[in-house]
């Protein structure tokens, strides 16, 4: 009687295992059956590298699936451990809403944007830098990421915003940048000193309605979408889709945008990029902006 039961439960176990593996196999092939992988969207173009989605199936399963999930919906088995506001949920590739874009808000990013994000990782999140992968492997992954969302079949990436060459840093520009900071009211979230403690900071939520923190310029954090001057320019001009950070491209002129970049640099703790800006701000004796001052127009 007892051995009989043991035998039966062993059999049951085999049946369950078979069912599960059949189900997971069915899931894996759903997209392939739809023919996604044979369409132009199943490739990527980064410089002179052409990425092939099919080549990324295995690397994705090995390195990405734990968080981003088999179906690219951001529901990998590790996702439940992600707690906000420090660790946002893994990106849902099915919706194809991305923070780091060179393209206007509401448009798909370029292949280069996705490629850069994979290599750069996301500061203050669980997304590591994937630089150890070869460039070809990262390009293949870009193509694979795109096959998760039907949007890549019907939409084209936006036209990247134009960024003029970076001008010379001058005291006038740092000062003008502070005026832009005041006029755009960046302090509402980022705080008058860039400490992420503005009046709206505590109630910010992302598109999943999870709490999200404003960027703190003063604690040594690196911006999520890159920390060169050009990256910072791009971040506030295109906005970070899926987050509270809006696009300012309609309201800040290209020349003013560089001024703002220099002022934001002066708020940052000393790093490899901002010696000059900090020195200028110190010599000018710049005080934090006053939110209650009448608007200068």
């Amino acid at each position: 009687m007892y051995t009989n039961l043991l035998k039966q439960s062993w059999l049951l176990g085999v049946v369950v295992a078979l069912c599960l593996s059949a189900a997971s196999y069915a899931q894996l092939t759903t997209y392939q059956q739809e023919g996604w992988l044979n369409t132009p969207a199943a490739s990527s173009h980064i410089g002179n590298i052409t990425g092939d989605a099919k080549a990324a199936a295995l690397p994705y399963r090995r390195f990405c699936v734990g968080c981003h999930g088999e179906l690219g919906d951001g529901n990998g088995e590790n996702a439940v451990w992600f707690t906000t506001p420090m660790y946002a949920q893994p990106r849902n590739f099915q919706l194809a809403i991305f923070k780091c874009r060179s393209t206007p808000t509401g448009t798909l990013p370029t292949d280069q944007d996705l490629y850069d994000t994979i290599g750069r990782g996301m500061d203050r999140s669980n997304m590591p830098q994937w630089n150890p992968m070869s460039r070809q492997e990262r390009a293949d992954l870009v193509a694979w990421i795109k096959h998760f969302s039907p949007r890549w079949q019907t939409e084209k990436p936006g036209t990247p915003i134009q960024i003029p060459p970076e001008p010379e840093i001058t005291p006038e520009r740092v000062k003008a940048g502070q005026a832009v900071f005041a006029r755009m009211q960046c302090y509402k979230c980022h705080g008058v000193q860039g400490m992420a403690n503005g009046p709206s900071a505590s109630t910010l939520t992302d598109d999943l309605n999870q709490p999200i923190a404003a960027f703190n310029f003063t604690d040594g954090s690196r911006p999520k979408c890159g920390d060169t001057d050009t990256d910072i320019y791009r971040i506030f001009m295109t906005g970070l889709d899926g987050t509270p950070m809006p696009s300012f491209v309609d309201n800040i002129k290209p020349d003013e945008a560089w001024d703002l970049v220099f002022y934001l640099r002066s708020l940052q703790r000393h790093n490899a990029y901002n010696s000059k800006e900090r020195e200028i701000a110190r010599q000018l004796g710049l005080k934090p902006v006053d939110p209650n001052a009448p608007p200068a127009q």
Binding site: Q94, Q185, P244
Partner: protein, 249 residues
């Protein structure tokens, strides 16, 4: 002789073609936008729910704009006689493809005024341009939240004081929630529908204009109370009536 016959033939053909075109154009005009109407009243069945007061003290501009007269949430606005405001009415079934795809050429305005949205619900057709403006001396960000898989792609644009209007349109029918991350109490809707539509006034009254003759399902949508549908028949140039009552939650 032969030449004359050819000329006569050409003239007859030309007339035939002209008459044919004219007939097609007239029939198109008649079927695209009718002059029928659907009218009615939308009411709330039950006591008007309490609308939470809004604390705007974190933004001095917003707070001052409502000094002595605190703003309230606008999820369920009830007028005289229980009329429900901001209910969107549209024809969900029965429109010809042509009538459903005809879009209004008006450009409605969604204004950010005193840190609230005016109107609270803005109805529009698929593909119809609309404008987002700001009247406020404080920065807003305008952040609609559609489902990107419908074809409506979310975007997020800043509107600091004095910012130029943003003109946009939507690609698919959807009730799209709009928010401002800077002022978390700000909540509004873009009601994107196909074909003729109307929004109820302060007393719950509405009129859908330009309805071609036919039998239709009219749907009433309220942001928290959901949808209701009714069948109506509109005669050519006539008026049909459809009243709705939503149960208070």
């Amino acid at each position: 002789m032969k030449q004359q016959r050819n000329q006569r033939l050409a003239a007859v053909l030309a007339i035939l073609v002209l008459v044919g075109f004219g007939a097609v154009m007239i029939s198109q005009k008649a079927s695209a936008a009718g002059d029928g109407k659907i009218t009615g009243t939308v009411k709330l069945d039950g006591a008007a729910p309490h609308m939470r007061g809004i604390d705007m003290s974190k933004d001095p501009f917003c707070d001052k704009a409502h000094a002595g007269n605190a703003a309230h949430s606008e999820n369920v606005l009830v007028g005289s006689g229980g009329g429900l405001q901001n209910v969107v009415l549209y024809i969900s079934e029965g429109l010809s493809a042509e009538a459903a795809n005809a879009k209004s050429t008006q450009i409605p305005v969604f204004d950010q005024k005193n840190c609230m949205y005016t109107p609270h619900v803005l109805a529009m057709d698929v593909g119809q341009d609309f404008k987002v403006e700001t009247s406020d001396a404080t920065a807003h960000n305008i952040h609609p939240e559609p489902n990107p898989l419908t074809g409506n792609i979310p975007w997020n644009q800043s509107q600091p004081p004095g910012a130029p209007p943003v003109t946009k349109s939507w690609k698919a029918p959807e009730m799209i929630h709009v928010k401002c991350n800077i002022h978390p109490w700000m909540s509004g809707w873009f009601a994107v529908v196909k074909g003729p539509y109307a929004t109820t006034d302060d007393n719950g009254n509405y009129t859908i204009q330009n309805v071609p003759p036919g039998s239709y399902t009219v749907t009433a949508w309220q942001e928290t109370l959901g949808t209701q549908a009714q069948k109506v028949t509109v005669a050519a140039g006539g008026s049909a009536k459809a009243d709705f009552a939503f149960k208070a939650k």
